[in-house]
């Protein structure tokens, strides 16, 4: 097991790693304690201390877009061991609006969530959901889908909303381009994201309470990524996200950009890979050195009756489960699997939303348990073995292993038999 190293900017040990001046300036409300590092891969297990509680990493963060995790109460989420979840700035800024949430004592108070929250910048939704958005140096212009009014989301505005939301981790506004776009637009977006980062840092009213993460851009171009990394890591932000991926690009490009990023990100700060949530992607990207992940997939797919299991997924609504009296996963300890059979859930899907809630709970439990097992194996120094077992369980045979995963793992010294 690797030695425990304190890397927080407010701890004495950290002073060795940077100039005293920098350390004093950056009294961020975040401490990263590296609990263990995998001797083979780039994986690490950390305790990420945030204002509302300590988060054990690697961590999957469920997404509660509109101040609620689809159909699940905050007590249920807490009961599943969730230490941090997401809220979406764009949605919450639209409805109910940041003023109202501020009056409700922030998003924590509004949704009565006692643990940590991470909010995105709103920029991604702007590009993915809203038509007629125009990106200028000032910010992202878009028409409100509710009243048609033109709204400008600037870096200052995004941070102002996130300050009102009171999230423990805020994301900078970045200039998002689809990961399949190439050419000068990618470079422009990368440079603009750096300029916007500086504006976000300057706009943060609560640097002592709210952590602002930078987002590495640069598309699928290694030089641009590297340039972005060089520039952004000069800023003293509490953490870094790897952005602009997970948007339909080739997996071969995806993992190369991830591993390039983690190679150049500072060891003592958390790394958040945005929008990644498939089990295989999680395990591989932990091996590549990422600490935090989020994705709507596990909760969205649950509402369509898809339950996540160690061998992939199980479509509860399919006829074959109508008379299947086993739990979704006989080894799963979640409240759904402890009480209900595939057959009952199959039948309940025809009449009650509670069926969706049952699967949502199971899927969140699956994601959180997966990450707990990953962490445990890193701490116990057997992560490479964990990966091999995991892959064997997930795929019926060796030749069904996705080649990108095989390559990615080979790049960090893991060979799959």
């Amino acid at each position: 097991m690797a030695a425990t190293v304190e890397c927080g900017s407010d701890s004495n040990a950290a002073v060795n790693n940077m100039s005293l001046k920098k350390a004093l300036k950056a009294a961020s409300p975040l401490t990263l304690r590296i609990v263990a590092e995998c001797p083979v891969t780039k994986a690490r297990a950390c305790d990420l201390m945030l204002p509302h509680c300590t988060v054990s990493t690697p961590v999957f963060m469920p997404v509660g877009t509109q101040g609620t995790l689809k159909g699940i109460t905050v007590d249920q989420l807490e009961g599943l061991g969730c230490q941090i979840c997401l809220g979406n700035t764009y949605h919450l800024g639209m409805r109910p609006g940041s003023d109202l949430i501020e009056r409700a004592n922030g998003l924590h108070g509004f949704m009565n969530w006692k643990r940590n929250l991470l909010t995105d910048s709103g920029g991604f939704q702007m590009v993915s959901l809203v038509e007629l958005s125009e990106v200028t140096e000032e910010g992202v212009k878009f028409k409100s889908p509710y009243d048609g009014k033109e709204i400008l989301l600037s870096p200052e505005k995004s941070i102002s909303i996130q300050n009102s939301l009171g999230s423990d981790i805020m994301m900078q506004l970045d200039d998002v381009v689809s990961s399949t776009v190439t050419g000068p637009r990618v470079e422009e977006a990368m440079h603009r994201s750096i300029r916007w980062l500086d504006r976000c840092i300057a706009a943060n009213k609560n640097p002592d309470k709210q952590n602002l993460f930078a987002i590495i851009q640069g598309g699928l171009n290694a030089d641009l990524r590297k340039a972005c990394l060089d520039e952004m890591t000069k800023r003293d932000v509490p953490g870094f996200a790897i952005g602009g991926l997970s948007g339909g690009e080739e997996k071969d490009d995806f993992w190369r950009m991830v591993t390039l990023s983690t190679d150049h990100l500072p060891r003592e700060k958390p790394r958040y890979l945005m929008g990644v949530g498939y089990a295989v992607d999680l395990v591989v990207c932990v091996a590549l050195g990422c600490d935090m992940f989020d994705c709507v997939f596990p909760t969205r797919t649950a509402r369509f009756g898809s339950a996540l299991v160690p061998w992939g997924s199980l479509q509860v609504k399919h006829k074959q489960y109508a008379k299947d009296f086993q739990p979704i996963d006989p080894d799963c300890q979640c409240p759904t699997c402890k009480r209900h059979s595939r057959a009952y859930l199959h039948a309940l899907f025809k009449s009650d939303t509670a069926a969706m809630h049952h699967i949502t709970i199971h899927n969140i439990a699956y994601q959180l348990n997966l990450m707990r097992s990953v962490r445990q194996s890193i701490v116990e120094g057997r992560f490479p073995e964990f990966i091999r077992t995991f892959m064997k369980r997930m795929f019926p045979s060796r030749d069904q292993y996705p080649s990108w995963a095989v390559d990615a793992l080979a790049s960090i010294n893991i060979t799959l038999e």
């Binding site: 007590d75 009961g79 809630h357």
Partner: protein, 429 residues
């Protein structure tokens, strides 16, 4: 003959009609009981709508009897037959008494499909026609503790003829005899209790005939059918219900189907009804509303602030005049809001940081504010249904606790005034 371990112990009978007591000896081992006047837990397919066991069990003092409905279960007969261990185990319910009714009180079924030998139920997959043989086969696969006998209740439309009403009484008695015969010959249903169904539409003589004839059969209790909200006005319902309960033996429980509004419940308790179904809080939830009527009759001001809940405020619109309108003009429209609830979709709750009902101890009110529930409703979030269902279930069952307390302490009139005029005593807000 049916099990008959079910035993009604009445502790008070007021004015020869209003009954307070305990229904004992419920469940296969007979260890469960249910206080009357009381209410069953509404679980059409073994689940309180929107709720998982986690969220359900944030509620305390829930009734031990869950109502499941054949209309929801019938299409899964084959599955249950293969499962063999009954619906309770199939649905992951452990420690509950299972009562199986024919229809879902919150989902009235289309008319015109009843014959001499069959009734139809409507599930997610459409209509399923039941003969007594199929009905009884279903009961054997469900293995409830207690079920309603097959009945022709198609008399609730206003233009039902006397002839049709008479036919429904005759058919229902014939179905009952056939059910009882099959029941007595069934090993699987040994110890299971049967409720006979009293029909008779809006015709007094038919109601009395149905009650008398049903009471002659070896049934364990009675379901009063065809009197549901929307079928007739309250005065007629009370008249008919009183006439029916007068004919029924005092030692057996009477369950009134399809009536759930608090004002109607109170009147029907006075007419001798013991049991109700709790579909009303579900209907309130589905229209985005929260039950808020006051039922606090505690004389102790210190207690008044805590439990049971009191409504904080009723809004200008929810005046007595409005209640009149909701109560009378919209009898046939059960989706219409009543004066017992507040509409949380209303913009005025957007920045209202109070709990749904001040002093309410339910999970929703302890943890969330009107503004949040309003937000969940306007954004169509699934949690809205969960939180409202928790609150409405708690509030409704709390009302029944208050009702029994009122009966025990001779305060039914006070409770009635509070429930009906709650908005006036609390108007100051």
């Amino acid at each position: 003959m049916a099990g008959s371990r079910m035993k009604l112990e009445l502790s008070r009978v007021i004015q020869g009609r209003v009954r307070l007591g305990v229904l004992k000896g419920l469940g296969r081992t007979g260890q469960h009981s249910l206080e009357v006047p009381g209410c069953l837990l509404y679980t059409p397919f073994g689940t309180v709508p929107h709720l998982t066991q986690d969220t359900l069990h944030t509620l305390s003092k829930l009734p031990r009897v869950s109502q499941v409905t054949l209309s929801n279960i019938a299409e899964h007969q084959e599955v249950l037959e293969e499962f063999k261990d009954g619906f309770r185990k199939f649905a992951g319910l452990h420690d509950t008494v299972l009562y199986c009714s024919l229809h879902d009180p919150a989902a009235p079924c289309p008319t015109g499909y009843t014959t001499n030998k069959t009734v139809s139920v409507w599930g997610s997959g459409g209509r399923i026609e039941l003969t007594v043989a199929k009905f009884m086969a279903l009961q054997k696969s469900v293995q409830p503790d207690w079920y309603q006998s097959m009945a022709d209740g198609e008399t609730w439309q206003s233009n039902t003829s006397r002839k049709r009403v008479r036919k429904s009484v005759d058919r229902t008695l014939a179905h009952l005899d056939e059910c009882l015969l099959a029941h007595q010959n069934s090993k699987e249903l040994e110890g299971v209790e049967v409720f006979g169904v009293v029909e008779g539409g809006d015709i007094l003589e038919e109601r009395i005939r149905s009650a008398r004839e049903t009471a002659k059969r070896p049934v364990d209790g009675f379901c009063l059918d065809g009197l549901q909200t929307g079928s007739m006005d309250q005065a007629l319902r009370i008249q008919l219900t009183s006439a029916v309960t007068k004919e029924l033996p005092e030692d057996k429980p009477r369950l009134l189907q399809g009536v759930g509004r608090p004002d109607e419940v109170l009147d029907c308790v006075e007419a001798g009804v013991d049991l109700f179904e709790s579909f009303f809080p579900f209907q309130v939830t589905e229209r985005g509303c929260a039950l808020s009527f006051s039922f606090d009759i505690s004389p102790d001001p210190e207690r008044a602030g805590s439990t049971p809940p009191t409504v904080l405020e009723l809004n200008e619109e929810d005046t007595a005049g409005d209640m009149q309108q909701n109560g009378d003009l919209n009898l046939n429209d059960q989706t219409q809001m009543t004066c017992f609830e507040i509409n949380l979709k209303d913009k005025r709750y957007q920045d209202d940081f109070r709990p749904l009902v001040d002093g309410c101890g339910c999970y929703c009110c302890r943890n969330h504010q009107r503004a949040y529930v309003h937000h969940l409703l306007v954004t169509n979030e699934l949690l809205a249904g969960v939180l409202l269902m928790i609150h409405n279930t708690a509030h409704y069952h709390g009302f029944f606790v208050a009702l029994r307390e009122a009966l025990a302490n001779d305060k039914l009139d006070l409770l009635k005034r509070r429930v009906l005029r709650g908005e006036q005593t609390e108007r100051k807000e």
